[in-house]
């Protein structure tokens, strides 16, 4: 749709929020099974690129729901428990890139991909920062640990994954969308 309304919240947002959440949950859980490249204490969660993609493609509500619910589901599937602050952080991670939705017209144009990646990076930074900082209250760690132990490795890992995979997803989406204009 060309006349995109960033803050609309109807059936469409419910459906893609749910689909994004299910995918994010499944991919997060699947990366627990498959060995993935890791460097130092940076862990990679390729699922993050999918989450950012849903934000960019379908807007902030979809990103928020996909991140919040998806993380909750992924944790539940793996059996970690329920950590509201990380779920909220993931929600923010999907929501902020959603602000770019209205500005993105052509998913395979270089400039629009750049917008997506930029907003994705902002989303990751804010989302992870939120989760790391709240961990200071919940987990009672200090700022240093929050930044060096949680924020930096998680941010780096997610950033790398997004820079590599988000453009690929956007280009593929441009092709799919060309076939199914609604």
């Amino acid at each position: 749709m060309n006349d995109k309304n960033t803050w609309e919240f109807g059936t469409r947002q419910v459906v893609y929020g749910a689909i994004g959440a299910a995918l994010y949950g499944v991919f997060s859980w699947a990366t627990n099974i498959f060995p993935l490249p890791a460097a130092g204490n940076v862990t990679f969660r390729p699922a993050v690129a999918v989450l950012i993609f849903f934000g960019v493609a379908y807007g902030p509500w979809v990103g928020l729901l996909a991140g919040f619910i998806g993380n909750t589901l992924g944790d539940a599937l793996s059996g970690w428990g329920f950590y509201w602050n990380w779920s909220l952080g993931n929600g923010l991670m999907g929501m902020l890139p959603g602000l770019a939705m209205a500005a993105i017209i052509d998913f395979k144009a270089r400039s629009d991909i750049f917008k997506g990646v930029t907003w994705g990076t902002i989303g990751i930074a804010v989302g992870i920062l939120f989760a790391s900082l709240t961990e200071m209250f919940v987990g009672g760690i200090d700022l240093n640990t929050a930044l060096l132990g949680y924020f930096v490795p998680a941010f780096l890992g997610n950033f790398v994954v997004t820079v590599i995979l988000l453009p690929v997803l956007m280009i593929a989406f441009a092709a799919v969308a060309s076939r199914r204009g609604r």
Partner: protein, 547 residues
């Protein structure tokens, strides 16, 4: 309020993103309790027509709409959604995508819940709908684990719970095995007898006739070509576009008689060298689930063109996945060219056996068709020259020239399917395995493509026989086995029930029925003419044997 359930008046529609209209000047009226069959090839506008009737057009899809659709005298465009939803119930092609709840009870209750009805009334409606379709026993089940037929009944119950008086069924048979499709058609008929007005969209006319439609509407390029009683032979209907009963095809071919189809000369299976051997294979997915394969023995030779038939969930896909080493037997061995699959890597096996999955969307990912085709050869570490040569060759053989730089995800379904086949061709494996190569495609499309693959061109070899030592395809379409195979495997009860030439295996129609494969008119006709023909032939060719 008028008593005419549906009146379509001079309806045209053009999607905003399309240069040409999807439907043009369609008009018809239905009586209460009438069952109308809508047929036509892919893209002729059947779904668009359905969307105009259920109000998705103009609500969700934008474009230019002319003419009117009246439901009981009221214009669709002016009705509110809750009101619409209680008048028209729409069953989409793939029930998997229509089911929105994770358990059956909630799925059936979904519509009434949305209407905000009181609890007691919802419970009562749910019970009623489920009892009507005899699926009360499914109430507690997870929707994910249902079989295709059960899913479809649950989706239908979800519609009936809204008490609609009109039902729109858009290719409801696509994901069902023939026996389940037959049952579903019986249900549609009985709903019509109870007074519901039904539009049944289906391009497999032969199958849909089981529902005894009152009239048939045949569309071509968005226009109505035929709208009348079902007669024996409506000449307006093109047998290459939709699947007609064999006798109709024969009559039509005789009537037209200008086109003489080339006689299919299938290479007979003279047993060549052994390629794949199953030795007493047992398999189960996990320790606490039952065996899916039990004591399977099977050998595949050079020259085999095998059709695998059998009911849903029998284990056909499981069986062929052993031949490509995706699954390893729990007991027994699978040998590929004499070597145990347990000792081979996936890449090694992929050099010998190519596998085309049912849905192209499960494997297409690359930004261009060319890269998609290069994926396999690259994984197998082909040399660049070899790779380029084999990619170019497979592009040519499935007729994708000119589309090399297109994104596969932007192609039409038929083109995507060909891309996946080309992607496997490019790997130059010896054996080709296809899992339901025709599922989800329309008749015209899949015959074209099966012809391209299996029909001998310039006299001697088909693409498959020229390129592959052996081919296996799984199918629910008995006619494909009749027309294209030289060996049929009937799989059921966890083992191979029958194995042999099509003429031998398929003559036991009782056994077929026991394994939920319904004999078709083409099979009956072939069996009848077998003494004269000596082998199974497509209907067009059979015409020559009938006076």
């Amino acid at each position: 309020m008028s008593s005419i359930p549906i009146a379509v008046q001079d309806l045209s529609f053009q999607y905003r993103t399309r240069p040409e209209p999807a439907i043009v000047d369609v008009s018809f009226e239905l009586r209460p309790g009438e069952l109308l069959l809508i047929a036509g090839s892919s893209g002729c506008g059947k779904t668009t027509l359905a969307r105009c009737i259920n109000g998705l057009i103009p609500r969700s899809y934008r474009g230019e709409r002319n003419g009117r659709v009246l439901l009981y005298g009221k214009d669709v465009a002016e009705m509110k959604i809750p009101e619409m939803a209680q008048v028209v119930g729409t069953l989409l092609q793939d029930p998997e995508r229509q089911i929105v709840a994770s358990n059956v009870f909630n799925e059936v209750a979904f519509g009434p819940e949305n209407l905000g009805l009181p609890r007691e009334q919802i419970l009562q409606r749910v019970d009623q709908a489920m009892n009507r379709l005899n699926i009360a026993y499914l109430k507690e089940r997870e929707t994910f684990n249902l079989s295709g037929g059960e899913k479809q009944k649950v989706a239908l119950a979800g519609l009936l719970a809204m008490n609609p008086s009109i039902l729109l069924l858009d290719e409801p048979l696509a994901s069902l095995d023939p026996a389940s499709a037959y049952e579903a058609l019986g249900v549609f008929r009985s709903l019509a007898d109870e007074g519901k007005t039904i539009l049944l969209i289906e391009h497999r006319v032969e199958d849909a006739l089981e529902a005894k439609p009152d009239r048939m509407l045949y569309m071509e390029d968005g226009k109505v070509k035929y709208l009348d009683q079902i007669r024996d032979l409506p000449v307006e209907i093109d047998h290459t576009q939709v699947k007609l009963p064999a006798p109709w095809v024969v009559q039509r071919v005789k009537a037209l008689s200008h086109e003489k189809s080339s006689i299919l000369r299938r290479a007979d299976a003279e047993k060549g060298e052994l390629l794949v051997v199953f030795e007493e294979v047992d398999f189960q997915y996990s320790e606490d689930t039952p065996l899916v394969l039990k004591n399977v023995n099977l050998s595949i030779h050079r020259g085999d063109l095998i059709a695998v038939l059998g009911p849903n969930g029998a284990g056909k896909s499981t069986l062929v996945k052993h031949a490509i080493g995706l699954l390893k037997p729990t007991r027994g061995r699978v040998l590929i060219e004499g070597e145990d699959t347990r000792k081979m890597s996936i890449a090694q096996i992929a050099c010998v056996v190519g596998y085309v999955f049912q849905s192209p969307t499960h494997m297409l990912y690359a930004p261009t068709v060319r890269e998609e085709l290069e994926f396999g050869p690259r994984n197998l570490e082909f040399k660049p020259e070899v790779m380029h040569a084999s990619v170019a060759e497979s592009l040519r053989s499935v007729n994708l020239i000119g589309l090399e730089d297109y994104p596969p995800l932007g192609l039409s379904f038929g083109q995507q399917k060909r891309t996946t086949i080309a992607a496997v061709l490019a790997m130059r494996s010896k054996i080709m395995i296809m899992d339901e190569p025709t599922a989800g495609q329309d008749f015209a499309n899949y015959t074209r493509f099966m012809d391209a693959l299996c029909k001998p061109s310039n006299g001697t070899h088909s693409l498959l026989t020229a390129r592959f030592a052996s081919t296996i395809f799984i199918t629910h379409d008995l006619d494909l086995a009749v027309t294209y195979s030289n060996r049929v495997l009937l799989f059921g009860d966890r083992h191979v029930v029958a194995d042999g030439k099509p003429e031998q295996v398929l003559k036991d129609t009782e056994q077929l029925l026991r394994y939920r494969v319904r004999p078709t008119s083409l099979l009956y006709m072939n069996l009848e003419l077998l003494p004269a023909t000596g082998r199974f032939l497509p209907a067009e060719v059979l015409a020559e044997y009938i006076r």
